[in-house]
């Protein structure tokens, strides 16, 4: 086996391109606006949002792995966060128990979604779209009926430390960490490792990817595709909930608007990072880098006082450009494979067939 070296293989991936772009961008930003390096006021908030949105991206990546999509990622985040908020606010649960409850709630709603998709065979777009609206109706209603100001504000012990603390709060023998790195990166790094292990080392992760590559072939190879679909959506729901909860800890309260801006980001991150829309290939590091790039751009624009609308336009353009690259990659993957090219001229129907 004549495998190319690890480094050479990395250079050939979209991830390498992302790293280069991010480094260049940061260099330019620092050169033009040295205030970009302000630890507490620029870097720490940036890292916090990178952490939160990386989890959002992973939530979407989870269903992209099986070739599905989750339009309800933001609403599932809102739902999971709401459940955590209720346990803190009304039941007085400690931090870890409340977060666990939120994750379970997110997983449950995701599992329900996956179950509907697996049982009915209706495409994931429609089911998650409908689910997003059902939750969009449910969540604010519950908030307004259970809390006075449509927000849960009780903070159990450790809540602020998780969301707003930094390594400056962690001191060992008189030496404290840098204030520029928020503590929230710790659980997120852990989640990234877990997801990466899932896809690279475990049977279930491999089976998820093969289900994404071809449901039919997967079923005929003895993979319980129905259960894998439910699992992917459950994990997506749990990760979305985690992102919602982390966002709540960083802003200090639980509100119905958590997750509102998750959907677009959730697609941009994985896709920029090289995750195939069609399923069968994911990249945890790529998702992280994709999210990082978009948020660095956002921060940069903020520093220059450019409005949010420009960012939106830019994100849309980046998505289209990245996707064209994704398409080129897919075509390259497919080349040299189908003796029957007759389907090549038909319009893409993946969004329905997926």
């Amino acid at each position: 086996m004549n495998e190319p070296g690890l480094l050479r293989r990395f250079v050939a991936t979209p991830r390498f391109v992302l790293v280069v772009i991010i480094v260049l961008l940061v260099a330019v930003l620092v050169a033009v606006k040295p205030s970009f390096l302000n630890g507490t006021f620029v870097i720490a908030p940036l890292l916090t949002s990178i952490a939160v949105f990386t989890v959002v991206g992973l939530a979407q990546m989870m269903v992209l792995s099986i070739g599905h999509m989750n339009i309800a990622v933001g609403q599932m985040a809102a739902f999971g966060a709401m459940v955590s908020g209720i346990t803190f606010d009304l039941a007085g649960w400690p931090l870890v128990a409340g977060i666990a409850a939120g994750l379970v709630a997110g997983a449950a709603i995701g599992a329900l979604t996956g179950w509907i998709i697996a049982r009915t065979g209706v495409n994931s777009f429609i089911v998650t779209l409908a689910m997003s609206f059902a939750l969009l109706g449910l969540v604010p209603t519950i908030y307004s009926s259970l809390s006075a100001g449509s927000a849960f504000t009780t903070k159990p012990a450790g809540f602020d430390l998780l969301g707003r603390g930094s390594f400056a709060d962690v001191c060992l023998v008189g030496w404290c960490g840098p204030a520029a790195i928020p503590l929230i990166v710790v659980p997120v790094a852990l989640v990234m490792v877990l997801v990466a292990v899932l896809f690279t080392k475990t049977r279930v992760g491999r089976e998820l990817l093969l289900t994404g590559a071809s449901v039919k072939a997967a079923e005929l190879s003895g993979i319980p595709t129905g259960r894998r679909i439910v699992l992917a959506h459950a994990l997506s729901g749990a990760l979305a909930a985690l992102a919602g909860i982390l966002l709540a800890t960083s802003i200090g309260s639980f509100t119905p608007s958590i997750g509102d801006e998750f959907m677009l980001q959730s697609f941009v991150g994985p896709i920029l990072g090289g995750t195939l829309l069609a399923g069968g290939y994911v990249s945890v590091v790529g998702t992280f880098l994709g999210i990082t790039l978009t948020l660095v751009i956002r921060k940069g624009l903020e520093l220059f006082g450019v409005g949010i609308e420009t960012l939106n336009v830019l994100l849309g353009v980046i998505l289209l450009v990245a996707l064209s690259a994704d398409r080129v990659r897919e075509v390259r993957l497919r080349r040299g494979r189908t003796p029957d090219a007759s389907g090549a001229a038909t319009p893409e129907r993946e969004e329905v067939a997926a």
Binding site: R203, R206, E219, L220, S221, A341
Partner: protein
């Protein structure tokens, strides 16, 4: 014969990555003739038809229509040149009526808008011409496959068509229906048009065709010859080629006194099988022969739980078994199913060889921890890659980059890795070259000798007669009979064909 051919292919070649599908094919269709296009599965017949009708663009060679060289940019250009085609797969618009499906290529309009009464009228006239009794207002989904095919023929004839290409039109229809089809074909010949006719049924071909072209591995080995000058056996030899003749069929003594490993007893399924019984013993190859659409693959699906068995019993090693999924079949009964359609069902084209083969062994590799050791995974995969002589550049190579034969080996290796005791193999050699085919045959014999019970599904009669110990014949979702294989092509093929048509003749 000095008449200008209506359609002529000269030195037509077409390659797909890894496969030379057509290699300098010549073909002449004379006016007022019915021309048979014969060849084994994967010989290039459908590709030739697609190359002639603008679906595929030929790499080399030329197409001449009534004396004028043509290059078809798309199917519409071929239609405009007067070439009509009915492909092997049904191409209908399911949300349209019969009538609209017929006239859709040239919708009758008046004052710029579609004239629906004309749609019905012209479609009805077209159907009447074919002697088909169908109401044009019927939704097409209410039709059987055979009726849909007639609708497609009507569509091909609706616009000015001088040449009609029919790709296996009789593969899935009954005797009565093919009689009607041939009346249409005869009428077209009398009109001075040309018909190209693809079929596996040689009796039919001799009864209705005038000239013949035989394809083998993408080459025209017999080119536009008068059919009457070539005897049945000679045609078969030309199709199969002498190379396979040199394959020595081993004298196998299939065990008779052992209890069956896989047994169906009066099985009725949700797919529509009724009262199907058969038994495969360890070390035995049972062939399941039938035409396309006879329900063979569906029977395999019912065995592995993709269709439900509603009556009768499935027994494994003598005890009743309930299989609900391929996973259960594998894990509880060590039964593997090598699927028919390798590109969609057999391999994951965009995944590595390792993942493609290891998929069946992950559960055992990951027992307890859920973790799969990459090293052990590669060990297992390498063993089968070597054993089946799969030609790859690396274990990380994508399966889609392999040739058809190697993909099929990957598909088989996946199941062998799970060390099954019962193996259902569905159309293993469609579209793969002769050398690989022979390797496959030897492999299947070896597996049987190692004690596997093998249910072999094939629509290639020669393959069946070469490989199987016994041949069960299926027609319209029922078993019409079983023949002990004496490996004599003539007597076997006669017997099997008789069983297939036994049912149809009773109509």
């Amino acid at each position: 014969m000095t008449t200008t051919p209506l359609l002529e292919a000269i030195g037509l070649s077409k390659s797909f990555p890894g496969v030379k599908a057509l290699d300098g094919v010549n073909l002449r269709l004379a006016p007022g003739s019915v021309h048979a296009l014969l060849g084994e599965n994967g010989a290039g017949k459908s590709t030739l038809i697609k190359a002639l009708t603008g679906v595929h663009r030929p790499d080399a060679g030329s197409i001449v229509v009534a004396g004028r060289e043509q290059r078809f940019a798309d199917p519409a250009a071929a239609r405009a040149a007067g070439i009509g085609v009915v492909h092997q797969e049904r191409n209908v618009i399911r949300s349209f009526t019969v009538g609209e499906n017929i006239v859709m290529e040239r919708m009758p309009r008046s004052a710029g808008r579609i004239d629906w009464s004309k749609v019905r009228g012209e479609a009805a006239a077209c159907l009447a011409l074919l002697d088909v009794d169908l109401d044009p207002a019927t939704p097409i989904t209410e039709l059987s496959s055979a009726q849909m095919q007639l609708v497609e023929i009507a569509r091909a004839l609706y616009t000015e068509t001088r040449v009609l290409l029919l790709d296996e039109p009789t593969a899935s229809i009954s005797g009565a229906e093919s009689d009607r089809l041939f009346r249409v074909v005869d009428r077209l010949r009398d009109d001075g048009r040309a018909v190209l006719f693809v079929s596996h049924k040689l009796e039919e071909v001799y009864a209705h065709c005038d000239t013949v072209t035989v394809l083998r591995d993408g080459e025209s080995v017999l080119e536009s010859q008068p059919l009457a000058e070539h005897a049945h056996d000679e045609i078969v030899d030309t199709m199969v080629g002498r190379s396979l003749g040199s394959l020595t069929v081993p004298t196998r003594s299939a065990p008779r006194d052992v209890a069956p490993a896989l047994e169906l007893d009066g099985v009725t399924t949700t797919a529509g099988h009724h009262d199907v019984s058969l038994a495969v013993r360890p070390g035995e190859i049972l062939g399941l022969y039938g035409l396309v659409g006879a329900g063979r693959t569906e029977l395999a699906h019912a065995i592995v739980g993709l269709e439900r068995i509603t009556a009768g019993e499935l027994r494994i090693d003598g005890s009743p078994a309930r299989i609900r999924s391929v996973r259960q079949a594998l894990q509880r009964h060590r039964l593997g199913y090598v699927t028919e359609n390798r590109k969609e069902e057999g391999v994951f084209l965009e995944q590595s060889i390792t993942r493609n083969i290891a998929v069946t062994v992950w559960s055992s590799l990951a027992r307890g921890t859920g973790l799969v050791s990459g090293r052990r995974e590669r060990e297992v995969v390498s063993r089968y890659v070597d054993d089946l002589d799969i030609r790859i550049s690396s274990l990380n190579q994508l399966a889609g980059r392999l040739s058809g034969g190697n993909q099929q080996k990957v598909s088989l290796a996946k199941w062998l890795a799970a060390s099954p005791r019962i193996l259902i193999i569905d159309e293993p050699t469609v579209g793969i070259d002769l050398r690989t085919k022979r390797a496959f045959y030897e492999l299947i014999w070896r597996l049987a000798d190692e004690g596997l019970a093998i249910l072999l599904i094939s629509s290639d009669l020669a393959e069946m007669i070469t490989l199987a110990d016994r041949v069960a014949v299926m027609d319209r979702f029922a078993i019409t009979g079983e023949v002990e294989n004496d490996h004599d092509y003539d007597s076997m093929s006669r017997e099997v064909i008789r069983l297939i048509h036994a049912d149809a003749d009773a109509l």
